[in-house]
Amino acid sequence: MANVPENLQYSKDHEWLRVEGDTGTVGITDHAQNSLGDVVYVELPKVGETFAAHGTFGSVESVKAVSELYLPVGGEVTEVNESLQDEPEKVNTDPYGEGWMVRVRLADKGEVDGLLTAAEYEDYLKSEE
């Protein structure tokens, strides 16, 4: 059973969002890293790039698959997790912690309300099985 922490927001693309003030931290869910397998490379944007909600901000690769990364909410990238360049395996070992990917300045906090709660995301995972 995939780990789905309570305090986060989720998208149907299997990204999570942690909101702190007007900053959001984004990564992929435990379910996503698990179905992808050993992550070997993460391609991330540059600080300062701006994306709309659902915009492709990068990609994550396993040995034999590539998944695009979609930003759950729109905003400007303020920080990227540079350590993933050397240790992409953090996405597997700690998807909600050291495996975070980008921080963004939220363009519209109202967009957060459109995301799934932990309970809703768990239901969504069940419905996908």
């Binding site: 070997v40 690769e61 040995v63 992409p88 395996e89």
Partner: protein
């Protein structure tokens, strides 16, 4: 480097050529320079010359070289050793006679820019091969220039683009969609993209066939340039609606491209041209037995209808004269509608020689006989394994048969494990996880080059592995057990790629 040994046997631990190198060893001897030597500074100022004395390039004697490559060669599986049942790869016997033909001095030593009158034999080889491929496919226009299957695809799709641009003028810009089934080989969408097309995916039906309703729906939008279809498809099933498929695409103003990877099921039995296909590429390194060489060279001729013929790459190989007079052969570049060149010179001529030798050795009867034998062998495996492995589709297979790991995976043994365990039984694994639409796919193509007893051994091995998967899954999960190295950590290799050797002291700091 201090590597753990694969076994104490020295042939199992052959180092890299760089690690084997000893200063002062040499494996060659050239004739002494027979002209007056010009001081090197007069020939070429020092700023244009290498200053590194090729440091790091190996220094080995001839026996060192021969032992090195002989030892590492023994770590390879190969067709001559046994069944190589990679689906959609057609690993058939590579005739030694064809190898001999390709090495005849009059071909091997012929420079590609020799004048046409000095290269008549080579041009005749190409012309005759073109004629036979046209007959085999039922498509009269042929270019031998593409160097591999994907290269032939790119060529064919570019021809479609050029045809539409000429036919529709500016309106052609409204036709930029290439339809590709979800079961297709990855080269198809990549080739379509190179020609400026957007890819739309067609669903397959539960029978493993192209979904005609979905095809009609996509064609109705009016922006379809064409369809890329493999037939028999990558599920090993003949698209029995092929004529209707071609009609739908043609009625929508598009053209049909056929990926000829699976022509080994059709040669001498049915022709793509008769089915409504407009352009096809063949893989001489599959159907016509030119050796795979551990990943090439290939050769991917394009065959097309007379409507598409003006768009073939240049130069074309043509015949002149004949009809009582002497026939001669020439290169013709005066084709204003051609897509241009896709390769320097004329294609992988050495492969053309081997393919022509293959066709002439088989003759008209032998070509069909090979097709029958190939399909029969696949059917034999299909029947032999029907009770043991899950078959996603019920249609009878052509030259390759598709199974899945559905029954075995419940106990933890997946397709990858089954494939690796097959190695312990002395067989090369089948194509795995392809086509992508079938979970845990195992695509088996025995070809005609294997006898009944060996087919039965393969069937028995697969059944035995299925039994092991239930009774002793660890045996399967840990396979292979008999090779000099075990499963390699591909994730670690991709995270910190080491793509070349470096001297140890430098490697430490790099």
């Amino acid at each position: 480097m201090n590597q753990p040994k694969a076994s104490p046997h020295i042939t199992q631990n052959e180092a890299l050529v760089f690690e084997r190198s000893q200063p002062g060893r040499r494996g060659y001897m050239l004739p002494a320079l027979d002209v007056e030597e010009t001081p090197i500074d007069e020939l070429l100022p020092a700023e244009f010359r290498r200053a590194d004395d090729l440091e790091g390039v190996p220094e080995l004697s001839e026996p060192d070289v021969v032992r090195h490559f002989t030892r590492i060669s023994t770590w390879n599986y190969n067709i001559d050793l046994g069944l190589y049942p990679l689906g959609s790869c057609t690993m058939k016997y590579n005739s030694r006679l064809n190898e001999r033909v390709a090495r005849i001095a009059g071909f091997a030593n012929l420079h590609p820019l020799a004048s046409e009158e000095d290269a008549q034999g080579a041009l005749e080889v190409m012309y005759e091969l073109q004629e036979h491929l046209a007959e085999i496919t039922g498509l009269p226009g042929v270019s031998l220039q593409p160097a591999a299957g994907a290269h032939g695809e790119m060529t064919g799709v570019m021809m479609i683009r050029a045809f539409l641009d000429k036919r529709d003028g500016e309106r052609s810009a409204g036709r930029r969609v290439m339809l590709i089934p979800d079961s297709a080989h990855g080269t198809n969408p990549a080739s379509a993209h190179l020609s400026g097309f957007t890819v739309k995916t067609i669903r397959s039906t539960s029978e493993g066939l192209t979904d005609l309703e979905h095809l009609r729906e996509l064609c109705a939008s009016g922006d379809v340039a064409g369809l890329m279809l493999t037939n028999p498809n990558t599920c090993g099933i003949f698209e029995r609606n092929i004529q209707e498929i071609c009609r739908i695409v043609h009625d929508a103003g598009g053209l049909v491209y056929m990926d000829g990877a699976n022509m080994n099921a059709l040669v001498g039995v049915a022709r793509p041209g008769d089915m409504g296909v407009d352009v096809i590429h063949l893989n001489l390194h599959k159907t016509f037995s030119t050796p795979h060489g551990g990943g090439g060279p290939g050769s991917g001729p394009c065959c097309c209808t007379s409507e598409l013929e003006p768009f073939l790459p240049v130069p074309r190989v043509v015949a002149r004269g004949g009809e009582g007079g002497e026939r001669s052969f020439a290169l013709d570049s005066e084709r204003p509608d051609s897509i241009g060149r896709v390769k320097a010179f004329y294609g992988n001529f050495g492969m053309h020689l081997r393919a022509l030798a293959y066709i002439l050795t088989h003759g008209r009867a032998g070509l069909r006989e090979a097709t029958e034998a190939a399909v029969l062998n696949a059917r034999f495996i299909a029947v032999g394994l029907a009770d043991t492995f899950d078959q996603p589709f019920t249609s009878p297979p052509m030259h390759e048969v598709l199974f899945t790991d559905r029954r075995q995976s419940r106990k933890g043994a997946h397709t990858l494990d089954i494939a690796k365990r097959l190695i312990d039984y002395g067989f090369h694994p089948m194509t795995i996880y392809f086509p992508l639409i079938v979970q845990g796919a195992m695509l088996i193509e025995p070809t005609e080059s294997v006898g009944r007893a060996e087919l039965q051994q393969f069937v028995d091995a697969m059944k035995e592995i299925a039994r092991e998967a239930v009774e002793n899954p660890d045996l399967v999960l840990g396979a292979p057990h008999t090779t000099r190295i075990g499963r390699l950590d591909e994730a670690a290799a991709a995270r910190k790629p080491v793509l070349r050797w470096r001297p140890e002291e430098k490697a430490a700091t790099a």
